[in-house]
């Protein structure tokens, strides 16, 4: 009985912290002639985010991620559709929305010449918090985000990772339960990115926050998110868990590199017996010949393949089995690779 009750509360409507219906934004641009041209940045999206979720908004640059985020955070008025954020309407109750959410923009939040501690205190005070409270909240956040000792530091003298963590601290100073992060790790080195991922995951585990983030990095969406919304050309083309999305792709990628190019065709023929998609033969730059295809349940099939290759006396330079990545998902959904834009 109690299990049923729990599952009901988890899926009940009351726990939705973001609900958007047909949210759209068109900009007026000018075409090559003088005539006005309507540019659809976001062409009517539906978004549902439940309390406690980490949802990733994935898409290439210019897909409409930031525009959607700016509409949800009251920075931009939708031209059509509606959205409720933290229980308030973004169009008519923007003040209440602003009070309830934290927003970490990709362009930063502090002046390079200011001092970090003063910036976070002023920011907190703009939310109506007293100076004392803003200071104690700020210092607490500095500690949580590994910024101890940087209270007096100017943002221009901080590393990229420190500045991003300062931006996150700024966005959390009023203790919001819903946090929007726009491209949180863009421009950071791999170590700083991994470090920031831990902090973002902590927002939920330690503060119980709901997180909505945009990214054009697949590994980021994969590592952080419970659910991913894939956006392309202003429309959401998929919405699911990273694993479910990856399962949509037809199987794992199996790539062989054949030592003797003359035998590539035979290898391709053997690989073709277990393949779910067309077998591709490609000359690699170092003179070897690669043979690849997608195979469902490759882990199970590959052993037989290797025995077959061995029996035929075809020597391999290497064999690789790769699980589908979100890049494959994106390619599958849109016909384009995300990496071209990344």
């Amino acid at each position: 009985m109690s299990v049923a009750v729990v599952s009901v509360t988890l899926t009940s409507k009351g726990d939705q912290v973001i609900t958007a219906r047909g949210l759209a934004r068109t900009f007026e641009g000018r075409g090559r002639g003088k005539q006005k041209e309507e540019v659809k940045a976001v062409a009517g999206v539906d978004i549902d985010v439940a309390e406690g979720e980490i949802v990733g908004f994935l898409g290439p640059n210019g897909a409409g991620k930031t525009t959607t985020l700016r509409m949800l955070t009251t920075l931009l008025k939708p031209t059509a559709g509606s959205a409720t954020v933290a229980g308030y309407d973004v169009a008519t109750q923007s003040q209440q929305v602003r009070r309830s959410i934290g927003y970490v923009s990709q362009s930063g939040s502090t002046s390079p010449e200011a001092r970090a501690g003063e910036e976070i205190m002023d920011h907190g005070m703009l939310y109506g918090i007293s100076q004392k409270q803003a200071e104690s909240r700020g210092r607490e956040l500095f500690e949580q985000l590994d910024l101890e000792g940087l209270w007096e530091r100017q943002p221009r003298a901080m590393s990229g990772g420190q500045r991003r963590r300062l931006d996150i601290a700024m966005g959390l100073v009023h203790d919001p339960t819903l946090v929007f992060l726009d491209e949180p790790t863009t421009g950071l080195d791999p170590q700083a990115r991994a470090n920031l991922w831990t902090h973002i995951a902590d927002l939920r585990t330690k503060r119980g926050a709901t997180i909505f983030l945009t990214t054009h990095y697949l590994d980021e969406a994969d590592a952080l998110c419970d659910r991913i919304l894939v956006i392309d050309h202003g429309s959401i083309v998929a919405s699911d868990t990273p694993d479910a999305l990856k399962k949509q792709v037809a199987g794992d990628l199996v790539s062989l590199v054949v030592a003797d190019p003359a035998r590539a065709a035979e290898a391709a023929e053997l690989l073709g017996r277990i393949a779910d998609t067309e077998v591709v033969i490609a000359e690699s730059h170092d003179g070897f010949t690669g043979v690849s295809t997608r195979v469902r349940g490759a882990g199970h099939e590959v052993a037989g393949l290797i025995r077959g290759l061995d029996a035929a006396g075809i020597a391999l330079e290497s064999i690789e089995v790769r699980r589908p990545t979100l890049d494959d998902v994106f390619l599958d959904l849109t016909g384009r690779s995300l990496r071209e834009d990344a």
């Binding site: 920075l75 602003r98 930063g108 502090t110 002046s111 005070m125 703009l126 109506g128």
Partner: protein
Amino acid sequence: MFWRETYIVFRRQLRMALRNPAWVIIGLVQPILYLCLFGPLLEPLASTLGAENAYTLFVPGLLVQLGLFGALFAGFGLIAEWRAGVIEAERVTPASRTALLLGRILRDVLQLFVQGIVLIGLAFLFGLTGSILGMVFGLILTVLLGAACAAASNALALTTKSEDVMAPVINSIALPVLLLSGILLPMTIGPEWLQVVSDFMPTKYIVNAIRELFVGDFFTITTMWGVIWTIVLFAAGLYVGTRTFRKENA
């Protein structure tokens, strides 16, 4: 609430400005340079220009110039802030958009006020005499004009978001205003066509009014027009400024 937000923004702006000594020094040196290097040129011309004291002619012009130019360039700082994401971060708080603008204008106005006091105080050393009360009113007109210009400059900055667009716009406004307002020399010594053209320049009336105030003429038509134009420009500047700051996507 509104005033608290305005104060928070103002305090932040002032703190950052004061921390940059170059900014403070340049702001104070400018009026001193004008007094020292340009004042002596005007002194022998004063009687020709119909003034008993060269500095009642010269200081009001300098005041308006400070008000116009210092404030018109205020928007450049805003572009840098916008680029750093500060404006967007402030706009996502529940703070009033007008407070975000007003706090910034108050910093520019304070700077102008201090510069004006330094200018008038130094001018006394050079030989300025006149009505103290008139000088106070003159300074108030200057500050109101400066607030209008700072608001307009911030609005322009937030609209263009580019120094490269803003610099030519401001220069193309500032030069004719400087030349046609009689800031350095009164327009009355010019040919008639030039006087007619300058009649269309609101700031000319303000300069003239401040000159009258400096010699103690409070209730003249000239003073009245100057006060009216100052109020009109002040209201227009604040209107454009707040409108831009309230506009979404700005």
